[in-house]
Amino acid sequence: MNENKNTMEVKSIKMKEFRHNEMIQKLLPFLGLIIVVTIFSVITKGQAIALSNITIVLVQSCIYMVAAMGVTFTISQGNMDMSLGGIIVASCMAAGILGESSPWVILPICIIVSIICELIVAVIHIYLNIPTIIGSFIVMYLARGIASTIMLNRSANIVLPNALKTLDHNYFYCFIAMMAIIVSYILSEYTQLGKINRAIGANQSAVETSGVPMNKYKILAFIYSGITLGIASFMMFIRSVGVTAKTGMGFETNTILILVIGGISLTGGSNVRVIKAVIGCLLFAFLDNALILVGVNSTEVGLIKGIIFLAAVAVGFDRKSMTHIV
């Protein structure tokens, strides 16, 4: 009897500890956000959390927010997507050129081009059996290469049609970002797409062996990522009023940084949640903004981002230290 009670006790302690750890993992991104906001509020004597500044931060985060929502679905399979920046410049360029006559095709074209590019990544991954990190690099270079070649050979700059300039408003960006968050949250938490994608990231061969049509879900995830990226390109086009060869440069690495500081594991699986990407986005935008407020030189921003990356990974990275011999 006594012995039995003893093991029960041991088990319950083990469970408590496990829950404790899980709680910390879950709360860490929130804590990070609070800590960073507090530190910078003190340094900038409240300037960082002034209402006007918060608005700027929110608006700044919107484009990344929309793109990161789609990327959450591909990263939950453990598929890293490094093509984002290239796709953005290609879709903005295509939309800009074709939209010169009629501005109403701009949004659809952004979305279609993005979907096609993301599908290429998926097809390279599934049918050539190549990891997406490589396939997406290829697509990024191809897309950026094609876009800059075409732009170089055109005499006129690609500019935003006047009809769309009225959209450049804080509410517009925030509204789209909110919509993206809501739709992605529902898809991720309440549909097969989100659930099976996480399962693929957790153990692809178990999903395949069970008889789930896995490739279907992989392709769907890339299509969804294409849709959100297309919308993000549209927003980018409006916000920067034109397209240059440098549009979207570094977008993919920033997005990865956003996911990591949000506490998302890049190998995918059950810890990938939309809410974490949202927090990562806010934290990233706040940092970007606060560093400027503090007066950090733009050349030093990269260095500081690197340090933050390191800190985020050191504290929050899911090391899967779960296997031990008993």
């Binding site: 093991t7 041991v10 500890e17 549909t191 659930k195 957790a202 153990n203 008889g211 049509p213 059950s270």
Partner: protein, 502 residues
């Protein structure tokens, strides 16, 4: 007498705690020259922890060990090996991409090198000698290790372990994954160690094997020493009882001796061939039938399982299932026919171990649960709780990660995935592999329940006793062909089955 046989290893007051689990508590043990000591206990009872501490790969929190009369406190498995204790673990311990000889001499190039240069020829010759010594003559030392099966690699590992001429050999469930041939080689090595007055610590779940091989058996429960049985006292029922700590119920397998099943054919395999692994295999599964498939590891039965479930495409022949006799081309055709598959490698192919129990159980049931595209938390929870109750899965919460469950409960989660989706045909590849007696018995009970509910099962197994104990009909395979079909009511006997296997 006692003084004559010197103590090789002695363990006193050993303790080891992981996080807050007390894995080994105040353990003591003494192994003498020429002794083959069995070590048993349910999963999580601390056997592996204890043996890892003896081998040096884990450090104890407290307690002391003596080896050949001297205090022994290895800091790593290398120190343990140098002292003379070699350990074979359950998982693979060879390195892919290297040749067999390179694997055998890994980390121990001293005797095959001159002035720092390793002589490949010497290494290969030495390796051949060692392999011959253990009886694995068909393994070529110059070949890349990837070409060999899991079983051969195990033998290569043994060659590596024995090469250092250890005073003591620890075998941690090494035989679990091996066929009869591999097991025989290991038994021979044990016998040899014994005659050389060396010691063996043998961990296994197979009680019959322990009874045959060991001089004495120590039983552990919840990290503590329970008892040591010697000689004639080593009886299977006593061992079982001591391991579980209470009287096990009388029956373990099915009690009836009749082959009972419906006439309706729910699954048929017709003339399936797959390169050299399967040749013209045909079989039929009936409603409510437990069809056992047995044979040696490489007889093709595991491949047959994969072909039936649509995971491997056969070169010719076809598999049809269900009332409409639907052709199975992919695994998703199989699930559409209400089939379920329990893979041999539970952790790799059956589970998402870092995900929650709930996520694992519902994965195949989303179609069923969704209402207008959406799946509610409540319906998911309901379905999962239903399975947990039906299968009697022991857990703290359905949101807990599967990795924290015991082997038996993990297997129940895999089964739960299929009962949740109401699978009527369940294909089980080694359903009780590496799980303890209590859990095994629970799985056999479930199989009986499923049978009563009219579900059909194919049980592929390397354990003859469970085929005999559970199946209505047993098919024995040999070299990719069906070599015999035996009915339960004709009296299934081990000898008859073995005859058709080899």
């Amino acid at each position: 007498m006692k003084d004559e046989k010197e103590v090789i290893v002695s363990v006193k007051g050993m303790n080891k705690t992981f996080v807050s689990t007390r894995a080994v508590v105040d353990m003591h043990l003494e192994i003498r020259q020429g002794e083959v000591r069995g070590l048993i206990g349910e999963n999580g009872s601390g056997k592996s922890t204890l043996s890892s501490m003896i081998a040096g790969s884990l450090n104890p929190d407290s307690g002391e060990m003596w080896f050949l009369g001297k205090i022994y406190s290895p800091k790593s498995s290398v120190e343990g090996q140098n002292a003379g204790i070699a350990m074979m673990i359950q998982e693979a311990g060879t390195i892919n991409g290297l040749s067999v000889a390179e694997n055998i001499f890994m980390g121990n190039h001293g005797e095959v090198s001159t002035a720092g240069f390793v002589s490949k020829r010497k290494m290969i010759n030495q390796s051949r000698k060692i392999l011959e010594l253990i009886g694995a003559t068909e393994v070529m030392p110059e070949k890349i290790i990837d070409e060999y099966s899991f079983e051969d690699r195990k033998l290569i590992e043994i060659a590596k372990a024995l090469h250092g001429n250890p005073e003591m050999l620890i075998l941690d469930e090494t035989t679990t994954a091996l066929s009869q041939r591999g097991r025989d080689i290991i038994y021979k090595i044990i016998e040899k160690m014994k005659t050389e007055r060396k010691a063996v610590l043998f961990i296994s779940h197979d009680l019959e094997e322990l009874r045959k091989v060991c001089d004495s058996v120590t039983i552990m429960r919840d990290g503590e020493y329970v008892s040591t049985l010697k000689g004639k006292d080593i009886r299977i029922d006593t061992m079982r009882q001591l391991m579980v700590g209470r009287e096990l119920k009388e029956h373990y397998y099915r009690t009836d001796q009749k082959a009972q099943y419906g006439d309706e054919v729910v699954l048929s395999v017709e003339n399936v061939s797959l390169d050299s692994r399967l040749q013209e295999v045909s079989l039929e599964l009936h409603k409510g039938e437990i069809l056992g498939i047995g044979g040696l590891t490489n007889c093709g039965m595991h491949d047959l399982g994969k072909v039936i479930y649509g995971l491997t495409k056969p070169d010719s022949g076809e598999v049809r299932a269900g009332k409409k006799r639907k052709l199975i081309k992919h695994a998703y055709d199989a699930t559409a026919c209400n089939m379920g598959y329990i893979p041999k490698d539970r952790e790799k192919e059956g589970l998402m171990t870092t995900s929650s129990v709930s996520d694992n159980i519902v994965i195949m049931s989303y179609e069923k649960l969704k209402r207008k595209m959406l799946i509610s938390r409540k319906s998911e929870r309901g379905l999962v709780n239903e399975q947990v109750k039906k299968l009697r899965i022991k857990l703290a919460s359905i949101n807990q990660a599967v990795v924290y469950l015991s082997g038996g409960n993990k297997q129940k989660v895999v089964i739960g995935k299929w009962t949740a989706n109401d699978a009527q045909i369940i294909l089980m590849d080694c359903p009780t592999r590496g799980i303890d007696i209590g859990a095994k018995s629970a799985i056999y009970d479930l199989m009986e329940e499923f049978k009563k509910e009219g579900r059909s099962m194919i049980m592929i197994s390397e354990e003859l006793s469970e085929l005999i104990g559970m199946a209505d009909r047993v098919i024995i395979m040999k070299d990719g062909r069906i070599s015999a079909t035996l009915m339960r009511d004709e009296g299934l006997e081990e000898q008859k089955l073995i005859k058709s296997m080899i």
